[in-house]
Structures are given as C-alpha cells and as structure tokens.
Amino acid sequence: MARIGVFVCHCGENIGRTVDCEAVANACGELPGVVHAVDYKYMCSDPGQNLIKEAIAEKNLTGVVVAACSPHMHEKTFRKATEGAGLNPYLCEMTNIREQCSWIHEDRDAATAKAIDLTRFISEKIKRNSPLAPISISLERRALVIGGGISGLQAALDMADGGREVVLVEKQPSIGGHMSRLSETFPTLDCSQCILTPRMVEVHQHPRIKLLTYSEIESVDGYIGNFSVKIRKKARGVDETRCNGCGECQSVCPMKKIPSEFDAGLGNRTAIYVPFPQAVPNIPVIDRENCLRIKGMQKKKAKAACGRCAEACGRDAIDFEQEDTFVTEKVGAIVVATGYQLYSIGKEQTRKGITGYGEYGYGTVPDVIDGMQFERIASASGPSGGEIVRPSDGKVPKRVVFLQCIGSREPSKGIEYCSKLCCMYVAKHTMLYRHKVHDGEAIVFYMDIRAGGKGYDEFVRRAIEEDGAKYIRGRVSSIQREGEKVRLTGFDTLSGEQMEIDADMVVLATAMQAQPGIESLAQKLSVSYDGHGFINEAHPKLRPVDTNTAGVFVAGACQAPRDIPDSVAMASATASKVLGMFSKERLEREPTVAGVDKVTCSGCFHCERACPYGAVERYEVLNRSGEVEKVIAEVNEGVCQGCGSCQVACPSKSIELEGFTDAQIFAAINAL
C-alpha cells in the first residue's frame, strides 16, 4: 500500500501570494494513498527538509511529493533529504506550482485548484515509481583540451598540475591564440607576451601534457568517461623529431612577401615559417599554398622546383612528401576552448546573416585598420617594433580615431550582442598611443561605455583623465580618403552636432565572433551552440562551464566574448570540474536512462534516429544455433542523457525511460 507524504511550499510569498498552500495541503491529504500533507514557508530550508525527514520516519512513507518550485532548482535537494531519511531518492518527486502555477496566474481560486491538480498528477505517478540505483561506468582519467589559446593552456596546466594526463590539440602551428598577438593588456597594462610565453613553455615541457599542434579533431566517439577521439595531424612538411628550430630554412626561402597571419597582414612571412619568434613549438611549418616545391609537385612538374629550405636544413628535417596522419586518444573528459575570431568589416563574412560595413572603407581606404592590427602595431614584437606608425606610409599618426561597437549591438548587421571588451581595449589603445605619441590626439566614438569589472571603470577614467583621450558619444556615418587624411563624417549625439574629422589613422573595434567551422566541431561533440555559433553552457548561472553533453566542458571566448581574466577563470573552473570527476575510479550517474524491451523491439531504429546523443546502439539477438535472429536496439547507459526522445519515437512503445515509464506517465495523465 502506498503511503505518500505531500509537502507544499509557499516559497516565501512566491507561491503563497497566489496559491492557498494550506488548502492545497488539505485537499491533497484526502487523495488516495496520501497519509500525510503539510504546508510550510520554505520547504528547502533546514526546518523544511526536516519536516520531510521526520514524516518519512514517523509515518513510514513510501513516497514523497514536494509541491514547490522547478525540479531544476531543487529536485536534488529534496531527493537528498529523502535519501537522508532512508528512503530511495527516486521515490521523491516534485511538482512545480511556482513556474507552472503561481507565477503565471492571477486568480487565486483557480490557481489553487490547478496546484491541487498538479500535485494529484504527481502523487499518482509516484505510486508507480520504483527505487533506482545509480549506474556505475568506467572512467578514463585523462582529458582532452581543444584549442591552445590562454583558456586551453590554463585548463591543460591546471589539470596536469592536478596529476592528470592531458592531450592538448591546437589547429595552428603554435599555441598561444589571440593573446600571443596582443601588445599590453588591460586592466594593468602588463605585456601580453611576458605573461603568456612562460605558460606556453610550461605546457610544452610538462611531463603530463601531450601537445599536438597543427592538428584538428576528426571525430569523437563514446561518452563521458570513455571518449575516443580521432585527431588529424596535418602535414607540417617538417619532421618534428628532427627539427631543432634553428631557422635556417626560413632565411633561405625565396617567398618572402606572404602576408603574416600573426601580424594581421601588416608584416610578411616566408612560405616555410614559424608564426612568431616565441612560437611553441619552435618548429616551422610549410604553407602548402605558397611553397614553390609543393606547388610544383601538385602540378606534377617533372623537375623539382626550389627546395632551398631542404638544402639549408642541417638535420634533414624537411619532408615535402609528408601526409596527414591520424592518432586516436582515449579520454574521459573534453574541454572546448576554441576561442573567437574577429568580425570582418568588409563584405566577406564567414557566417550567414551578417553584413559588413561598406561605408567604413576597410580594406579600401588606407589606414583604416582593426583592433588586432593596432595591437600588432603597438606590440614590441610587431612589424614596426612597437613604434606607432600607420601602414600606408610609415608616418607617425598625429590624430587617431577609434570607433567602438563595429558590428556589435547592431541587429541590422546581424549581431545584436555586446562584445563586452572592446570598450576596454579601445581605452587601452588610446593609452598605448598616448604613451608613445605624446603630442598625438586620441578620439573615441562610442555608444555607451561598458566597463564593469574590477579596476575596469578606473582604467577607462585613467584613459580619459590622465591620458587625455577624447570621448565622443556618437556614430560615424562614413569614412573617406581625403588626400593624406582619412575623413570621418559623424554625429555627436550629446551635443546634437554634425561633425567632420580628418584623422591620420582610424581603428575599428570590431565584434568578437565564434570561430569559423565551430558548428562542425560542436556537432562532433554533440554540444549545442547558439545562433551565433557560441557554445551553449548547460545553465547560464549554475553550470556556466558545463555543456549539455556530460563530460564536455567549455572555457573562454568560444562560449561568449570573454576577456583574459574571464577566460582564465572559466578554464580553471573546467579543470576543477574535470579533476573532481577524475577523483573517483568509476563514474556514478543518474539511473534515469532509457532501456529497450528486447522481446518487443522490432529493430526499426526510429529511436536511433531520434536520439540526439547517439546513445542507441545495435544489438544482435542470437538463436540457439548462434545465428542472428534479429537486430534490435540497445541503449548505452553511459551515453544516454535521459531526454526521452526515443521513447516518443518508438512506435511499439518498446523503449522506456527509467523514472518516466509509460505506466507512470499514464497513471499521472489519468489522474487529471
């Protein structure tokens, strides 16, 4: 015989204001099988939980129904309390009389009646609940980090220092990401390279970090605790085991005028190149599009072209014939830290639905550059050695205009979000500029200044008050070349004045966007992403570094625009999550997974197609002579997330989700 206890929560005023909680408790006390029903102001508080525990003991309850907020919020809390009193936690269920009742209704009587209905619904279901025990699955205690920017580096170091092996995969020839290209960093103006490169070296030398640069994820199989990841090591053209990084090859390469990606096109590189002197690993890569020898090989020319680098190399490390290779790594957890790209102001866009700013003349009007190019100009390791000069003629610009919010917060151009840190780096740019060009004038056009963060507003104030940056609230409508100058036409929205300014250089603070191709990586990992391609976190507040796929975590600017402090904090958070997970030998997981009725399954595999997590596998039923009788579905308990899609898809209802079985749901529906 069922002995159900019903516990109705007022949630302070949240529920009590609209729902007569006492009436709900009284009505539920009369329901068949309910032997105990009370209401209380805060059921989740200590005394509230004690009400549940005491009732379980005194009344010998076989089931607990808590009518309160969303199970997302407190199901764990109440199940824990139930377990504490010796009852299986899955014999406790919640009914949501807040989001589904008090918050959305006004009429008190009707809301109270609905709250009673909802509670009756769950109390019928719980009569059919059975005790469930957590599932134990094996665990590979190594981690994979995708992306070697500051986020990936930090995550890898924290996990490796915590005693676990880490595989770090970076698609570029060197680790470092965007941070390695920055000059000095807000809010303290310390030199980016100086704080970053020691970490890069540390990663390289760490005994527990396996670094795979110039590599990409080919495919991901498996599930939390047991991922199997196939990685493509792109042909570098240089044998990593032989090269000692002497650089002879670069000095002889005749292709010297290739725009350097690292210097955002402001400097040049050779066809065999190390992206920057502090690169890790310090091993060159051959750019196959520009290498004369390889181009000759591709055209099947009889005579081998060029090959000077191979001649110059004293260690016989250069291998034009090298091909992509594959390695497979078994890991238990994955951290995605693939960072961002900058919005392109021109016509060419990597994402659908986004348009550029033709009116700003990027790429056509000389001396209109973006923020990353300014970083390179200001950087001591940049093409001008840190001297602020403009690209067109190498002259020191005396008046630089900075435009904020280029792309960001502009739904008509396709991006409605705020990139969050342009306000900060523009302030930084004005300071860097004024520190180097004392008689120069820095003018900023802004929409709002968003400088939330420790020391951030002070930083912007310093730019204005100490370094004399001139901030104008307004928008620029066009940018044109006027002789030696760049003419901006704009509007000051505070004074209401139309303005025309002749500048020597214009810096556009462009939006931060998701990496190109992130969707295909996300699909390989079965993690979801938003309309802009940023990876979705499992919960914006409570689970900011988890994704919706168990065992896959997210750090840094691939989740949303993030500055360095944010990225590092997220990275360390992912490391702590992974280390916590790895602190046990095996994984325990929720038993609310799907199971197939082997007798009635007809092997149509609608469930396989419906499962968003790839949890449905094929299972061969053998007859007595060992021949395959039929092939049916089987759910991998490690992968199943308990979403229930398969249960809905199965035409013969041969698949059941523990905790949400057809019998339970049917009984609940019939109670309404």
Binding site: V599, C601, S602, H606, R609, A610, V631, S652, K653, D662
Partner: protein, 290 residues
C-alpha cells in the same frame, strides 16, 4: 508475361531464390502466388488486376515465410516504396531479396474489375504516379504501357472533408469509425506495420483501448496514421482490406499530403533517402513548435 515467367523460372532453377512471390489467377481477380518450382511459373500473371502490395510478405513479421529461403518478389512502383521503407528501417537487408520490378500502366481499384482502365475503375494512387518504372530493383520486366487515366476522386473527397467544420468532421469520422470492429485487418495488410508488438496490444499501460468502441477505434486510426506519416507507401491496402468499408485511404492520403507540404517529401523507391520521421533539417519550417 512470358518475360516474367521465364525470369522466374530461371531464378528458381538456378537456385538464386527458393520462392517467387507474384500474382496468379484467383477466385476474385488475381491473388498472391508463392511459386516454388520452375514448372509452376506459368501460373504467374500480371495485369491491371494486380492491385495487391506483395512487399508485405517481406516484412520480418512474416518470419515463417522468410524461413522458407530467399524470395524474389514482383513489385510495381508503388510497392517499391514499401520495399524502400523496409530497407530504410532495417527490416530487411538488400541481399535477402531479389526484386523483380514490373513496368506498370496502372491498376484497378478492385482486383475483380475488368475491361480497359477508366476514370471510374482506376486506383486513386495511379493518378500522377511517377514510379511506373520502379528503380533500385534487380530485374525490370515488361514494356512501359501508356499512362493510366487520371481521377480526382480522392482529392475531391478530401477537399470535401477539409471544407467541413471541426464538429462536422468529427461527426463524419465518428460515424465511419463507429463501424470498426478492431479486426486489425488494416494493420495486417499494411507493409509498413513492422512492429513485433503493436502499441494496440501493449498493456500496462494500455494506450489504445482494444474493444470495438469508438474511442479505441479513433485512437487506433490516429495512431496508425501518425506512425505512417512519411512512411506510408500509399498502396491503399488498408482500405481495401477493411471489412467495414471505412475510407481509410482518405486519412492516409491527407497525412501524405501534409508531409509533402511541410517537409517536401514523398515516400519514394530510394532507401537511402531518409524519411522525415527519422531526419531533421535545420531549414525545416518549424511553425508547429513556435
């Protein structure tokens, strides 16, 4: 016909297959034939009376047939859609069966008809058929006959039902389904009903009431129609089998139309094209969840 008989005889004598499933003369028009020896192949016929969908005999639910060995089956273009469905849903593997496709000039609504095909006697599904020459088969026999006459019989009946108010429509279907005796003949002849245990037979909970009551009949037909959305081969066998004369193909026809309008999909003879029930596209119009 000779071509079909000779091919069948060859397949049987060479041991390629152990049974040819085709059509033979029966007491009421033609009926399914299971031919096991080359000598018997002269019984095989194919003409406008060949309305039955023989793909149903490939379903693993007819495991007793399968145990008799590898079959060859005579299929029209419309039947090829059902075969593709069985392949798509892993019910058969391509090597387990030899497909003999026949070029088709349309069939009667009723196998007992005779005379030339006319607007009155032609099956609804033949109008606008784009599969008169089935693809993805092992052998293709016959000359392509001329196109069958067109009829808008079903279309206009569906339009008539669409024009009803919801109450009228409910009354219409209630009066039709009230006659249902839940014999499940419609399910037994359905080539796409591949479940080992139909949801109608599921107990604890019993989702579909099993007694011949309007409630259960409605629930069953709604379930059948939804389970067939994007899978139905439009063979019309459910309606032909129904002893109560319920116009079941109006339901299926309507659902097929909805699937085509929404997902730009019509069940075809290519097993590698996924059906909407097992596929999603980002560009699908998702107004139903907005």
């Amino acid at each position: 016909m000779r071509e079909l008989q000779e091919l069948s005889s060859k397949l049987l004598s060479e041991g390629d297959v152990s049974v040819v499933i085709g059509y033979e003369e029966g007491p009421r028009g033609v009926r399914p034939a299971f031919i096991r020896t080359p000598e018997e192949t002269n019984r095989l016929v194919f003409d406008h009376r060949a309305v039955q969908n023989l793909a149903v005999y490939l379903s693993p639910r007819r495991a007793h047939l399968r145990k008799r060995g590898r079959p060859a089956v005579v299929i029209k273009g419309c039947d090829a859609r059902a075969v593709a469905g069985l392949l798509r849903e892993s019910q058969i593997s391509r090597d387990d069966v030899v497909l003999i496709g026949v070029r088709c000039g349309g069939v009667y609504r009723d196998p007992e008809s005779n005379g030339p095909l006319s607007e009155e006697n032609v099956a609804d599904r033949c109008t606008g058929c784009d599969l008169r020459e089935p693809g993805h088969v092992d052998h293709l026999v016959g000359e392509l006959p001329s196109e069958p006459p067109a009829t808008d019989r079903r279309k206009s009946r569906i339009a008539g039902i669409e024009a009803m108010s919801p109450e009228e429509r409910f009354d219409f279907w209630s009066s039709e389904l009230e006659r249902c005796i839940r014999c499940h003949a419609c399910r037994e002849v359905c080539p796409m009903c591949v479940c080992e245990r139909c949801v109608c037979e599921k107990t604890d909970p019993s989702w579909v009431e099993s007694s011949p009551h309007l409630r259960g009949a409605l629930a069953w037909q709604i379930t059948h129609a939804l389970h067939l959305a994007g899978r139905c081969s439009d063979c019309g066998e459910c309606e032909r089998a129904c002893p109560a004369g319920i116009p079941l193909s109006l339901i299926k026809g309507k659902v097929n139309q909805v699937v085509e309008d929404r997902f730009d999909y019509r069940a075809g003879d290519d097993p590698d094209v996924p059906s909407p029930l097992g596929d999603f596209r980002l560009e699908d119009d998702q107004e139903f969840i907005k």
